[in-house]
């Protein structure tokens, strides 16, 4: 069943949608940031995701949780953007501009996590996307293959490569 905020937002209540933004922006932005390793692009894609969520809300029937629906929508937004950018995609190493990771969200073993975030950001795009979808977001490899439009073997190879590179970077 849709939550109160979801129901109200579906009826056009902007304050309710603002509340949904507050509740979910951290997850949406985290997905965008880890998949793209580019804070500015992640902000743009986060906006895309929420705009699309607003537009798609009338069709959300509550068969799944809103958070799951929004998560899947966000992943789609990021992957579509990646497909468009693929031709000019280069290895992005946005190490200097990862202040967002340190904006009070990372607590506890912060140093280790930031190192890991930086290492993920430094991965080649394909390997990073496969790794984030599988290991960070928890999608099975078969599902990742469907999302990326590639064979399961390709996902497996990308994840292997990503893990190997991460270990190399983290051991330096």
């Amino acid at each position: 069943m849709p939550t109160d905020h979801v129901s109200r937002a579906q009826a056009g209540d902007r304050a309710a949608f603002d509340a949904l933004y507050d509740e979910h922006v951290g997850h949406v932005y985290a997905v965008c940031l880890r998949m793209t390793a580019d804070p500015r692009r992640a902000e743009r894609l986060t906006q895309d995701a929420f705009v699309r969520a607003w537009q798609g809300l009338p069709r959300f029937r509550g068969d799944s949780r809103f958070s799951s629906w929004l998560h899947r929508l966000t992943v789609n937004v990021v992957l579509e953007d990646a497909r468009r950018e693929r031709r000019r995609e280069k290895r992005v190493t946005v190490v200097a501009d990862l202040a967002a990771h340190e904006s009070g969200v990372v607590a506890g073993d912060a140093d280790g996590r930031i190192d890991l975030e930086r290492a993920i950001a430094a991965l080649p795009a394909g390997a990073r996307r496969a790794l984030v979808l599988h290991h960070v977001l928890g999608h099975p490899q078969k599902e990742v293959a469907e999302m990326l439009g590639v064979a399961v073997g390709t996902v497996k190879a990308q994840v292997h490569r990503a893990r190997r590179l991460l270990r190399e970077m983290l051991s330096e």
Binding site: G26, A30, G56, L79, E80, S103, R113
Partner: protein, 237 residues
């Protein structure tokens, strides 16, 4: 197993993607091989760390203003009912304008007029509704509400006229659409018509209610959006 397993095999072990026979063989090897055991432990630790990363990372700035700006901008230029689904079908980017497929030449002008009418009417109605709301954001009554109601009626008449133009154009192009597509369009329009009627009835019963006015205009916007999408009107005409 005397030879060290390959790196990818150890990774498969950590992923749990090896069959039971291979898993048993590798585990027997690990019992006797501290190097491979250390390798597997390091991999498991890495995978656990990835899973433990914070689920939420806040952006450096509040993105809400930009989101609403885009929603309002696109509501005036793009159909919400034709917006991408959340499902598995890859859809066009929000920043990617739709391609013109059917509407060409002179037939674009009625559509351009309809789009401009929608933008102007939406702005007019928003102003009217806003003026009908008191400074505390509460619905107004009396003269303010009546003025908003009158403006609403006038605006609705203009939107209706724009919708009729688009419907006429769509009727000309219907033959170019697949039967299934026609059915989808007709179903969408029927649902939106019901929403328009419902909002109109509610507003008749409570003429000064700004929320109902917004809902009615949103329903009209949606109808024009579907009609525009079905007629393949490009953004920014």
């Amino acid at each position: 197993m005397n030879e060290h397993p390959r790196d990818d095999v150890l990774q498969d072990l950590v992923s749990g993607s090896l069959d039971s026979g291979a898993t048993s063989r590798i585990e027997r090897h690990l019992e006797a091989c501290p190097d491979c055991r250390a390798e597997v432990n390091a991999l498991r630790s890495l995978v656990a760390s990835l899973g433990d990363l914070p689920a939420a990372v806040l952006p450096g700035t509040d993105l809400r203003a930009g989101i609403w700006q885009r929603i309002d901008g696109e509501a005036a230029t793009r159909p919400s009912a034709a917006s991408p689904e959340d499902g598995s079908v890859a859809s066009a980017a929000l920043s990617t304008p739709p391609r013109l497929r059917f509407a060409t030449g002179a037939s674009r002008w009625p559509l351009a007029t309809a789009a401009l009418v929608l933008i102007a009417v939406t702005a007019t109605v928003s102003i009217a509704i806003d003026r009908g709301i008191s400074g505390r954001g509460e619905p107004a009554d009396g003269a303010g509400g009546e003025r908003a109601g009158a403006t609403m009626r006038a605006a609705e008449a203009r939107v209706e006229s724009a919708a009729r133009e688009l419907e006429a154009l769509l009727a000309e192009q219907t033959g170019m659409l697949a039967p299934a597509t026609r059915e989808v369009i007709n179903n969408s329009l029927s649902a939106i018509d019901a929403a328009v009627a419902e909002a109109r009835t509610a507003l008749d019963g409570d003429p000064g209610n700004p929320m109902l006015s917004h809902m009615l205009m949103a329903a009209w916007e949606k109808k024009l959006g579907v009609l525009r999408a079905a007629s393949q009107v490009p953004i920014g005409i």
